[in-house]
Amino acid sequence: MATVTFDHVYKRYSADVVAVNDLNLEIADGEFLVLVGPSGCGKTTALRCVAGLETISDGKLYIGDRVVNDVAPKDRDIAMVFQSYALYPHMSVYDNLAFGLKLRKTPKADIERRVKEAAGILGLERFLDRKPKALSGGQRQRVALGRAIVREPSVFLMDEPLSNLDAKLRVQTRAEIARLHQRLGTTTVYVTHDQVEAMTMGDRIAVMKDGLLHQVGTPQELYDHPTNVFVAGFIGSPAMNFATVKATEGEDLMLGSAKLNLSGAAAKAAADRPKGADLLIGFRPEHLDIADGQADTVSIPARVDVVEYLGNEELIHAQAEGTEIVALIPSDRRVKPGDQVNLGVPLEKLHMFDPESEQSLVA
């Protein structure tokens, strides 16, 4: 068991290619931390730095209390699961699992016990004699997980371990990894580009973009209080709606010609803006509903373009003064294309951002 600490870590490939830019992050002992972000954001590079597969250009990286900047991968007491499984194709499943232990001169009886145990946890007992090519994708990924488990390392590193699996298997394996983490309690750093994976698996999530860490927090914190426009748009599915509005003299905002009446914290933030200044408001599709004049609700007039029926709910694509709005509302609202509706969002669910800095004004 160990903590992992990034202390002003940089990874530069050249003067203007900075993959990881001043990363500061503390991962607690036993924590499941998900690094998430769009491709090319530096999340995998950050993980590979922890593994020792990339050297860091600047800063300090700790595993436990030890600075590991110059420690070889094999001496870092970590295990890594790769996106492509990276199994040893000419070895049986047993030998794949035992390889790392053999190299560390573990006693034979000990190897056998640990391999059997890991195989038991992952349901691989029947496949121990098989070669990887005789396994399905899901089984191969389990072998890759098993290879990490048998080593009993202090940190697991996982680099998009689910992205080569089909959708159904991915959901299954996701739960399996979560169970594994509950059972072993090993510190885990998990990289993914999929925000659903991040939300469902992470104790905490670190959102990265262009080498910069944008926000770290529990899934709820990120969902409820995104600190900037990128995190707000990245977390949550379907993505958050954004609209540019103008401040008025009072506490209200103008979306085109429509007036939005505010109160509470949102109203205070709006009132701080000079008249005519732009503001970016954000609201999640699932927080919208057809408004009928409730208190503490902002009402946005919109015309319905498309209705996607999902069973219990409907996905509404609507136009509000030139802004495209997506709303997820109960099916029994019976909205039809062409309808003029008022979409209401509760005031405490309304996000406001500075259009220049893209930082949240209410978080």
Binding site: L53, K74, I78, A86, Y88, H90, L103, R147, V171, V196
Partner: protein, 315 residues
Amino acid sequence: MTAPGPVVTQDYAASELEAQPRPQGVAQGNAFTRFIGRTPVHIAIIALCLIWLIPTVALLVSSFRESQAVAGSGWWTALTPPFEFTLSNYDRVLDTNNLGQSFVNSLFVSIPATIIPILVAAFAAYAFAWMEFPGRGLLFMLIVGLLVIPLQSALIPVLQLFVSVRIGDQTLNGTFLAIWLAHTGFGLPFAIYLLRNFFGALPREMFESAYIDGASPVTAFFRLALPTSVPALAALAIFQFMWVWNDLLIALVYLGGQQSIAPLTVTIANLVGSLGQNQQLLTAAAFISMALPLIVFFTLQRYFVRGILGGSVKG
């Protein structure tokens, strides 16, 4: 995308595909027309194979004919009655001309001259593929560049070198060591080139995973790179073995014509008198020398085919 939406769509699409009835008649018709359509290709391939085989068959037939018959009529006349075949050519070659010793000599030349360059090339190729060091690209280009240097242009300089090196009271020239070294040198550029490409196509994550598991580069080489490259190594072994086994030029230059150490090719070449007498013996001798490469090729040919694909296109 783990949202339930797409899953449903996918399953739906799959079941729709399965639900479509397979039109049996059409499928059969397709198979039939495909067969008809391919017939010209098959005929062309068979014709090419036959044309390719004719010289070998002619050689085989001739090796079983009397020398007067070979001199007096074409080999195809022997295929019609009366069948007048004889083993006398094989008899004479095997009996009188030191062939057994030469066969052993050939093996003594070929086996080390196959193993040494492949071993050296594998180390070099692994370093070129997976180890970072300054000048790696330039060095590799230099080695690939050596591929275009004709062997003949290096014969004399290397010979001079061998003559100048003394081991005890003998020069290096005319020893088996000399010919092993020569074959190693001439074989290395191609071997390194082929193996580097094969090693380079192995997945990087496999090695990284091994390093995390505790492997050193040497362990990774012996436990991962070599075992997963058996097809490429086998293909290379066949190439190199055939080349060395059939080589006359290098053997003549660096080993000389001494009977006690002459390999098969040199002995066979010496069968023919300076005026071309005993020419008929060549046919039988050629078949004897072909026997071993054929056995090697047929036992390893599945690696041969895979290895060529593996080295150049994809791992």
